[in-house]
């Protein structure tokens, strides 16, 4: 498994979402992606099963008071 390369990833992901990424912004973006990767590593430690639903739940609309 290759290591996460935030520089290469940033360039490719930016292309995927049509976000022009300027060279002058790249160092800050790479630093923040590396930090986010560490946070994602922490989150991945939480044991979850298919029964663990995501926090936000869509509501079709509130019922007006009777």
């Amino acid at each position: 498994m290759p290591e996460f390369d935030p520089d290469a990833y940033a360039r490719q992901a930016a292309a995927a979402v049509a976000l022009p990424l300027h060279e002058r912004h790249l160092p800050g973006v790479v630093m923040n992606l590396a930090l986010a990767a560490r946070m994602a590593g922490l989150v991945a430690q939480m044991p979850l099963t298919p029964a663990d639903e995501a926090a936000p739940v869509f509501t079709a609309g509130r019922t007006p008071p009777k």
Binding site: Y9, A10, A13, A14, V17, A18, L19, P20, L21, H22, H25, G28, V29, V30, M31, N32, L33, A36, M39, A40, L42, V43, A44, Q45, M46, L48, D52, E53, A54, A55, P56, T59, G61, R62, P64, P65
Partner: protein, 462 residues
Amino acid sequence: MSAAALAADIRAGRRRAVEVVEAHLADIAARDARFNAFTEVTAARARAEAVAVDAAVAAGRDPGPLAGVPVAVKNLFDLEGVVTLAGAKIERDSPPARTDAFLVRKLREAGAVMLGALNMDEYAYGFTTENAHFGPCHNPHDLSRIAGGSSGGSAAAVAAGLVPITLGSDTNGSIRVPSSLCGIWGLKPTYGRLSRRGAFLFVGALDHLGPFARDMTDLALAYNALQGDDMDDHAQAWRGVEPVSLEGGAEDLRIGILDDHFARNGHAEAFAAVAAVARALGAARHVTLPDAAIGRAAAFLITMAEGANLHLPNLRARPDDFDPGTRDRFLAGALLPATWVQQAQRARAACRAKALALFEEFDVLIAPATPYVAPPIGQEMIEVDGQSIPVRPNLGIYTQPISCIGLPVIAAPVAGVPTPGNLPIGVQLIGAPWAEDKLFRLAAHLERIGACRAPTPRSAHA
């Protein structure tokens, strides 16, 4: 003068709202430059609202519990006729708001007089209010230091005595962090309690709105006035108005002191503040909030992704118009793998389940609000637990795990704790969902026994 005292005088006809508003406008004109709390002073509106309050009193009508009380709001709240800046230069190009935000309307219905909009971190993405476009907000206790953020102007205006009540928003700690650093009271209610309509979104999944005040009577006055049913905020979980009271004492409340994550990652004064409150309450039971670091990480990722996606068109078209302090985080946030974010939303729900179990044994949990007192404006790094770390993101280390799961919190300014430079610091009083009433009873008790109170800034009137 407190909001309660001002309203009592105005309601009884001892003072006129127009005199009160003129005095406050003059005070803001004379003193705000040193704090940089206000980005807009709505003088004409304030004068008109004060005239209406005086007319109501003269006609024998009830002008409301906040009659003639000067208030102001973080500049992400819509004020009719004013451009909602949300701390961003980009938003200067937006049209003025057509109506007031829901909570602004509630304040007005209670008789309050709106004095203006307050400084903040760009798009609420920060803990320091070192805004590159509108300048840094200065802490009234030491003008060379940050006021905290992102609701820095809201906290500084109250701490400096420019207005007795302000509103802010809290996504990851943006009410509780500046409350702690400026030494005032702040409330982040339960997620879904107060309507967020007309407040500029940051992270809809985590955004809360709430009030700041210098004493508990005013905080309760504000919170009771802000409650109201809003069919147009889909995130509001309406339970009816549940007014809080400061009466009833705190003897029946089971208090837990959070350890583990909340007993490291900070400086001695943060833990001394918690210890002082625990001593004052005779509270000795320590308890662990499971997976706090995971909850914080989840909030971090959700914030990056959701916040960035809101601003994607501007990130594509004009990235250099963003504050350099927020731009690269937004750019990176637009690129996160969906797996990271979805996993964070599921981990968040799992964190909530574990936290709720604690409230079978405890009514209120106590934790530090910030890891240290206000750092100097511009400081980049700080030493914590023997390591040099970035000072700004670490300011939310204790608040993020709590807002991640939507629990209500009162940030309480702790009295009599030795701190560097005698600067203020606060603690979080954390309740079960919808248990704001218990937090108000406990906070009022702490204020009554002198364990917590808002200190008067030395530099504010110099």
